[in-house]
Symmetry: C2
Subunit: 516 residues, 2 copies
């Protein structure tokens, strides 16, 4: 955020000036998504959807490699399904889209209304998540211990009616994957819960280049009806936490509600232990707020729909043909390369328009490498290369560097891998610098999150893991400071000292932060 004043950034708002407005501007200027005119629902545009397709492709390969089968379950869930698991209802019963009619009819005035004759006997809920309907399927599919573990996943849209929405982060409809598994016992289900969590952690740190803390959520933040909920938490550039994926051990409560039983090796009917785990288009919001800068998005190469864009500086004269031929050869040579384990993704942008306008459009979209090719470059066998993560020179000029075409083609894959690593390193260093330790009193905690501390980051604390009313008291106290407990990182060393909230011996480490 500390560029020389001379730089004229591509966005009109900087992160420093107004982080929320900056976020919206990145999404608009990178042409990722927009409001649809339908309350709380966004339109995901090609560049945003392309990133989601990359996330799907890579995550789906991981899910399949773990032996999980993709299925598809109904969009609609009968209302009665939600009445079965009491705690689950409490958590979700609030805001859901309810289908009550199956027909429209003319109102006699040229308009349409729901046909009163076509009222459903039982209302249908648009799935907010699919534990109940998948549980019903599993109760049919699972007979014996031989059927276990049963590992299923679906890629789907879900709806949770939201009063305040923000694109990618909180929308009424969103896209996600939801894994649902059933196991013979607690140990096996917990192993799956933690396998999914680790898959998410590695995915965030790998393809998304987004450092995260994987850990257990406190009791009050559990998924409705779950025995244990785990999350990955990422730190955004404004210091807030983003929960970017969750994995739940559901115990036997959902199995009991849905009747998921198996005959064990001794012939006894036994309840299954179930899990669920999911990540969503929210991850894209995390990528924006982790890697975006005052010139727009920066997409990690692993999830960039295009990794290299070639911009011929067309002049609408008869030299254009030779320039395009040169660029096409370059494109073909790059497309044969392997970058980050896949064929390199390269686009030759031949559209009409001024070269500098096109350059800035791609800068704002955050394509990792931009190649501008003029007639002289083509004549000399050169390319002019711009790394999106090193956009500006110290003198405030755009950081293009010339080199031979062959030289660039040969090292393009290495360069992309370096960008991927560099984005991860930059985000990790920033995150680590914004984790505050050594807080021992409430007064200190309050000071960290005082109003004038714009981006305070996270506080790492030891606590006594209170439960029930004692936990509620902590949660209430934190709420007055607009804070939440994010999670207890897995594998963190046991803390020393006493719990800031209860005065008891601290038994585990937690992160406290403002959050999305």
């Amino acid at each position: 955020m500390n560029k020389p004043a001379a730089i004229r950034h591509a966005l009109s708002v900087t992160r420093e000036a107004d982080f929320a407005a900056w976020y919206q501007e990145v999404i608009a200027e990178a042409e990722m998504a927009e409001e649809s005119g339908v309350r709380g629902c966004m339109v995901i545009k090609p560049w945003g959807y392309g990133i989601w397709e990359r996330i799907q492709t890579l995550m789906d390969a991981q899910i399949k490699a773990a032996g999980v089968d993709n299925c598809y379950f109904p969009l609609f869930i009968p209302l009665s399904f939600f009445e079965k698991e009491a705690k689950h209802v409490e958590g979700f019963a609030k805001e859901m889209a309810v289908v009550t009619h199956h027909r429209l009819i003319g109102d006699g005035k040229g308009g349409l209304v729901p046909d009163p004759e076509a009222k459903l006997e039982e209302p249908l809920v648009v799935r907010p998540t699919s534990e109940t309907v998948i549980g019903a399927a599993m109760s049919r599919w699972i007979q014996s211990w031989r059927d276990l573990p049963m590992l299923t996943n679906q890629w789907a849209n879900v709806v949770r009616w939201e009063m305040r929405t923000r694109m990618f982060l909180r929308t009424s409809e969103f896209l996600w994957q939801e894994g649902h598994t059933a196991h013979a016992d607690r140990a096996d289900a917990m192993e799956e819960t933690l396998r999914a969590l680790e898959m998410y952690r590695a995915f965030a740190e790998g393809p998304l280049a987004m450092p995260v803390v994987a850990g257990e959520k406190p009791e009050n933040e559990r998924f409705p009806g779950a025995v244990a909920t785990y999350s990955i938490e990422a730190m955004m550039q404004d210091g807030k936490a983003l929960q970017a994926g969750t994995s739940h051990y559901l115990g036997t409560a959902f199995a009991e509600a849905a009747g998921i039983r198996y005959q064990d090796r001794e012939g006894q009917q036994t309840l299954c232990h179930t899990t669920s785990w999911g990540v969503s288009t929210r991850m894209i919001g995390g990528v924006i707020m982790t890697h975006g800068d005052d010139d727009g998005l920066r997409v990690p190469p692993a999830i960039a729909p295009q990794q290299v864009v070639i911009l011929p500086m067309l002049r609408e004269n008869d030299e254009d043909a030779a320039l395009l031929a040169y660029c096409e050869e370059l494109r073909a040579a790059l497309a044969k390369q392997t970058a980050l384990g896949e064929p390199l993704r390269v686009l030759l942008d031949k559209r009409a328009g001024k070269a500098t306008q096109k350059r800035w459009a791609w800068v704002k979209k955050g394509v990792p490498l931009i190649l501008e090719i003029g007639g002289r470059d083509a004549g000399n066998g050169q390319v002019s290369v711009l790394r999106r993560d090193r956009l500006w020179r110290d003198d405030g000029k755009v950081n293009f560097a010339g080199e031979t075409r062959e030289g660039f083609v040969a090292r393009a894959a290495v360069e992309l891998a370096d960008i991927q690593q560099s984005l991860h390193r930059e985000a990790t260093e920033r995150r680590d610098a914004q984790i505050i330790r050594g807080i021992t009193t409430m007064a200190q905690l309050e000071a960290v999150f005082a109003e004038d501390q714009k981006y305070p980051g996270w506080v790492e604390l030891g606590w006594s893991r209170p439960t029930g009313a004692a936990l509620d008291a902590v949660v209430t106290t934190l709420k007055t400071l607009k804070l939440t407990i994010r999670n207890t990182p897995i594998g963190a060393p046991a803390p020393s000292g006493s719990c800031l909230f209860t005065g008891d011996l601290a038994v585990e480490t937690i992160y406290i932060a403002r959050s999305y």
Copy 2:
């Protein structure tokens, strides 16, 4: 359907005995899908969904190669959007799922009801198709002729409330892709409409090995609001037609309703010409009824989730380890092969269970090649190969053939390509044999479709292309015979003679059939 009586088929119902019951049994026994307990919605199980994933992968590559961008648009469409295009409303207003509330609340008796306080001001319709909401987006995105053509597509779920449902063929919720494009003029829009149609035709005949007739639907079968609708029509084994994909030229009516205008090169505001085109999970129903036999499904190798399954004949003794090692080597060698342009998909099925049970499970699923490997095979470097499309020998025995492992690995890709071609040839020959020509009177037409003609097939006719009331009369006449006009094949030679319905000069060829 003419096997020696000695054969005991894997299914309990033959196509001959009860085609509809046979269809349901294939779906159940191949574990493709099942009823969900939610009215009209099915659960797509891993083998069925795996086929859909294959269709998606191959079709999506075609769509992208045509320069079409994937996007994602909202599930919900405000009711008022449907009121804009009058003809479109007429066609679709009947049966749609309508969301009227956004919250559930306890009924005080342990149940849940839609919260009367949370009634939506404007009901939302669960998309039956997305012309209206995508049109609204295009009206924002398109300013100038430079923005044209605008080519978008989405993969999504849609809902059309159906009274009588049948898995894959007609379900209230189904999965599909819908392409939506906007163009500067009629010629460009028609070109796109026909490009999509040809993409579907080639896709059906290629990966699906399903012969189809591509042509224009008659006026009465047009998509609501369209100027012209084209379809691909496949013949099922019971002689009925299945519309397996459609492409619509929408003229300017949708553009006018949504306000999709562009500034042309002369600076004038001009309406766009739009198109839409889609295929759905219905294609899977077509694959079942084209290629299935009395032993279950036969999946064309190009869309088979697994192309080769290796079944080690485990005996739960200490020879199993060597057998598994041999099978794993075989699997690895096959996985390195390229079949039909992609890495060969092979599964080593190590699950517990009797080898013959597992064999028949895979036969019913229709995996193209089954390899059974016993201890003796492993010792001799042999494999025992079963081609699913040549399941039975003339003597009524299962058609296994032994050969060397190396020999099989070397020719596996060729064998798969041959199965793909063979399924297509078989289906084409059957289809062609069931097309009836030379009908010149209504009495002859009635005779073809008389009650005792179980699988009459299609009738090819020349007609005078009546419109309006004259067409309505034809449609009504055909309806009494439970017949519909399928389409006018593109490129068919002009017919001779007069129209059977109107007596006027026949001007084009049509197909008449019973249909799904």
